[in-house]
């Protein structure tokens, strides 16, 4: 991602004669938007669907009813743990994703012009403020929360049969992806309102 972004941005920046700003531009784009959103979408595809499918099959094979009968609150036992996990893990994954992306960007910069590793990252980090990083990571908490809640909700409301499980897994991905974009939009508005830009 970082690599492709760098390669595509370069011609425009060359046109304006600000090619030297390439690391700054790419760094900002990755950390503020592309890293969090793409990571969250992949996360929704992988984890959201697996939570939807897992709880869905527990529902149709009556395992959730069995828990209730055994005096366990399925909500606490199944939902709370999963939502907590997705909420806390997505920010960490995003940081990892950002790092990989930035490394890709460094390679991209290096295709045409030679920059040292340290110079590239010095440039990137100098341009990044706390106010770029904090809102970006904070919104991933909400992305993770949305993926977890939607996966659980769809799983819990699976209709009968193995077909129902597939449908829950699928619609969990679709709904959480849409929610990620909506939350992202809200996040921009809120950061702006708080004057963090």
């Amino acid at each position: 991602m970082g690599l492709v972004l760098t390669m595509q941005l370069r011609p425009s920046l060359v046109d304006y004669g600000v090619e030297s700003q390439l690391p700054v531009m790419v760094g900002l784009a990755i950390v503020r938007e592309i890293g969090p959103v793409i990571t969250a979408l992949i996360f929704a595809g992988k984890i959201g669907s697996s939570i939807g499918a897992e709880l869905g099959s527990m529902k149709v094979t009556e395992q959730i009813d069995a828990m209730t009968v055994s005096g366990i609150k399925p909500f606490k036992y199944l939902v709370a743990t999963r939502v907590l996990a997705t909420t806390l893990m997505l920010p960490l994954l995003t940081i990892l994703g950002d790092a990989i992306s930035l490394f890709g960007a460094y390679l991209g910069v290096n295709i045409r012009s030679v920059t040292s590793f340290s110079l590239f990252f010095l440039q990137v980090f100098k341009s990044l403020n706390f106010s770029d990083v904090l809102p970006a990571i904070t919104k991933t908490l909400f992305f993770g929360f949305a993926v977890g809640i939607v996966g659980c909700y769809k799983g819990f409301n699976s209709s009968k049969g193995t077909q129902g499980v597939g449908i829950s897994a699928n619609s969990a991905v679709v709904l959480s992806s849409v929610l990620i974009f909506i939350i992202d939009l809200l996040a921009v508005q809120i950061t702006e309102l708080l004057g963090l830009n």
């Binding site: 395992q63 069995a66 009968v69």
Partner: protein
Amino acid sequence: MELSKAENIIVIKDLIKTFGDKTILDGFNLNIQKETNVVILGKSGSGKSVLIKCIIGLLQPDSGSILVFNEDITQMNEDELDQARSKIGFLFQSNALYDSMTIRENLEFPLLRHWVDIDRAEVDRLVSEALENVDLLHTLEMMPSELSGGMLKRVALARTMILRPEIILYDEPTTGLDPVTSREIENLIIKLQKKNHTSSIIISHDMNCVKNTSDLVVLLLDGKCYTQGTYEELKQSTDKNIKQFFE
């Protein structure tokens, strides 16, 4: 003794349950006495599972009452329900074994929940005893996916019995099993019932199972208790709604 025999432990009165505009149970009445096996007979989709899920509080009926040990299940809060459920066992049609847990963990699960201050040795003893009752002690550390359908049913039965419930609800215990395995399950049901003096409701349309396990047969039709009697009584009936099950 005669008096306690006639004691009603489950009294269902005017039970109504609808889903959307579909009326599943439409004024169902039934009394169940201590230490009897009641079989509920009915076509697929007639609401048999819905009925026993109402009895254990998994579904809330629209109206009517269900007295279990003289207390109304439909009026209970969560804590009271948990309390009542510890005396009722439920054998799910699809077994409902937790497929991410070993057989041992499956059996421990209800124990650790309902008897919080139970000690480790006692848990191990009860788990072994329950598995021994169904001749499956060797599966202790296996996963549910490694067992056959009949074995899973027996494990599920062991899990249901582990809390020594006074009432057991069986949802189609022999459906989907071969005749030999079905007989095994029936014999286990009868054996465990004798041993623990339980009362049960058994849902079935397997007439062999009905014949072997029932003290009383209840026919569920159009959401009502259409008729009740012993297996032999119903077998003699000339009513076409009853006869169709015996053909």
